[in-house]
Each structure stands twice: as C-alpha cells, then as structure tokens.
C-alpha cells in the first residue's frame, strides 16, 4: 500500500501506470553498476521514480575531470567516494526509498553477492571486462541486464533478458579497444535516461522493452536507430542455455 505522501509524490506517473505500477516500483530492487556518467542519471531518475531499493556500486573517488558529466557529483565532492557522494544526493532527492551505496570494485569474487536479490541490473560501467562479468552473472541468476555505453556524442542501449534475448556477448563478441574516451555530458545523460526508462517500463510492465534490439544514438547527426540482434548459437556464454 502506498502512503499518502507517496500518492502525492508519484501522482503524475500514477496517472500513467496506476497505483499498481507504483507499488511494483516500490517493491523493486535495482542494482546499478557504476556511479559515473551513466550511473548518475540512471540512479537519480530511478530514485525519484520511487524504485524502492537501489544498490549502487562504484570504486572511485570524484575527480574534477568527472564533473562535466557525472551530475550527482559536484565541485564540493572532489576526492569524496562516488558511492558516498551519490548516496547523499539520492537520499535528499527521495527520502522514501532505500539506498545502499558501496565503494567496491566489481569482480568475480563479489559479483554474486552484489547482485543478490536484485530484480534488475543496470550496466553503467566504463569497461567491457566488467560488463562481460555482469552479463555472465545476469544469465546465471536469470536477472535482466540493461546495457548502455557511450563515447563522444554516440551511445548504444539494449535490454537483455536471460533466455529470451541475445546476451551481451552475442551482440558484442569482441570488446572495443580500451581508451580514455572523449565524452560530453549530454551523451551519458541521454543513454542513461533510456536505460532508466527501460527499467521503469520493465518493472511496471509498460510498453515494449528493447528486447533483441540495439538502439544507437548518434548525437552529431541527432538520429536514433534500432537494429535487430539475435542470439548466436555458438555464443560461449548463453549458446547452450536456450530456455522455453
């Protein structure tokens, strides 16, 4: 049951998906991997939408070079843990939800514990090795993974549902080369909000998710295109795990 305060806070979106949809959001647990360019807008918009439990993990501290895009971290947060900086802002944005922010490096030893209990995993990482780890763990646990990545003015998004869609390694069998990537803040803003929008849709059962579709944003051309993607029968991660 929603409280009076919650009915008021979420009144405009209850018009869209009803109190039942809002209760689903309140009951949802979302794991967000990364509190950087993507993780900041994802976490902020899911917090104000009323996702009941958010677990946010980032190992880094705030650096001045982050401030052009990582919108939960401000000048006064430089040298602070990103987890703590983000947690403070999110609590202030919505005191009615639970936020757990952890300063940790996601690796093979902790990933299972970190995602335990999550209904959704949001990939807001900045490197493919950790993304592949999240993908494998999402498949093992049967939890959807909302993938997003950016560079410059460009971004990509897709929603991965284990057993139903292509997995991250079906779509990207080879990681792009690692680099210090150029980026303007609007790009992770746009891609992060598409990921958050996918999360809200998935949780409330609204609309058509980005299943087996890879959405590409080209910010210089101002175009969005979606391409069909398919499971690869020879995928080393999900190839042998077709579910009915």
């Amino acid at each position: 049951m929603l409280t009076e305060q919650e009915r008021e806070r979420y009144a405009r979106q209850i018009l869209l998906f009803g109190e039942e949809g809002q209760e689903r959001l309140n009951d949802a647990k979302v794991f967000i991997a990364g509190a950087g360019g993507l993780g900041c807008p994802v976490a902020l918009y899911l917090a104000v939408a009323g996702v009941g439990e958010i677990r946010l993990v980032d190992r880094d501290t705030v650096d001045r070079t982050n401030l052009n895009r990582q919108v939960l971290h401000w000048e006064s947060d430089i040298s602070e843990l990103k987890a703590r900086s983000a947690e403070t802002k999110l609590r202030e944005a919505n005191p009615d939800i639970q936020i757990e922010a952890l300063a940790a490096t996601i690796d093979e030893t902790n990933v299972r514990d970190l995602i335990a209990g999550a209904d959704l995993i949001v990939d807001a990482m900045d490197n493919f090795p950790t993304r592949y780890l999240l993908n494998r763990e999402a498949l093992r646990a049967g939890v959807p993974l909302l993938h997003g990545a950016i560079r410059g003015f460009d971004g990509q998004v897709t929603t991965i549902v284990p057993g139903r869609t292509a997995c991250l390694e079906c779509i990207f069998p080879e990681a792009p080369p690692a680099e210090v990537f150029p980026v303007v803040g609007t790009t992770p803003g746009i891609i992060g909000l598409i990921q958050a929008n996918e999360a809200i849709k998935y949780i409330t059962g609204t609309g058509d998710p980005l299943l087996n579709r890879l959405l590409l944003w080209d910010g210089l051309a101002a175009t969005l295109e979606t391409f069909t993607v398919e499971r690869r029968p020879d995928c080393p991660v999900c190839g042998g795990e077709v579910r009915p």
Binding site: G34, G36, G37, A124, D126, R151, P176, D218
Partner: protein
C-alpha cells in the same frame, strides 16, 4: 548492382552517412568492404586492421541483421549494409 551503406558514429565521419556502392552482380560483402576501405583512405585504420580486414569489434549488418565480415552470401541489388563501432565508455 548497387547497395547502400549506412555508417554510424566515427565511421559516419570517415565514410559519410549514406553511401551508394556499385558492385558486380553476385558480389559478396567482401567487395563492399574493399570499396569502403578505399573510400576511407588514410583514415581506414579506425575501421580496418593492418591486413585490410574489418576490425574484429566492428558490427556489420545486412538489411538490419548482423552478418560476419566473411559472409559468403551474394548481395542483392538495393541491399542496405550498416557499419558501426560499439562504444565502451560509461
């Protein structure tokens, strides 16, 4: 026959956004990639490796569906080929 190539992101800046390419009847993806490598000229390093093959992480699509760079199916007149580099930042 003629196929259309759509390039995205950095590749659009190098190749252009909507490129008509003439290939002989019965040509495969290999012929399109050779034409694109010539078109990219000095900037082809971003798309092709030293041996001239499409870089392994680049995504190649034919009529909206993923294909391998060595796909041996013959192309058809009017086919649309898409080419883009996945991004990794966050």
């Amino acid at each position: 026959m003629r196929v259309r190539v759509k390039a995205f992101a950095r590749f659009r800046e190098i190749l252009g956004s909507d490129i008509p390419i003439e290939v002989p009847d019965g040509a495969t993806m290999a012929a399109v990639l050779v034409a694109l490598r010539d078109r990219a000229g000095g900037e082809s390093d971003a798309i092709f490796d030293e041996g001239g093959a499409l870089r392994a992480h680049v995504i190649l699509m034919r009529n909206g569906k993923r294909v391998k760079r060595d796909d041996s199916d013959a192309l058809a007149d009017g086919d649309e080929v898409a080419l883009f580099p996945p991004v990794a930042g966050g």
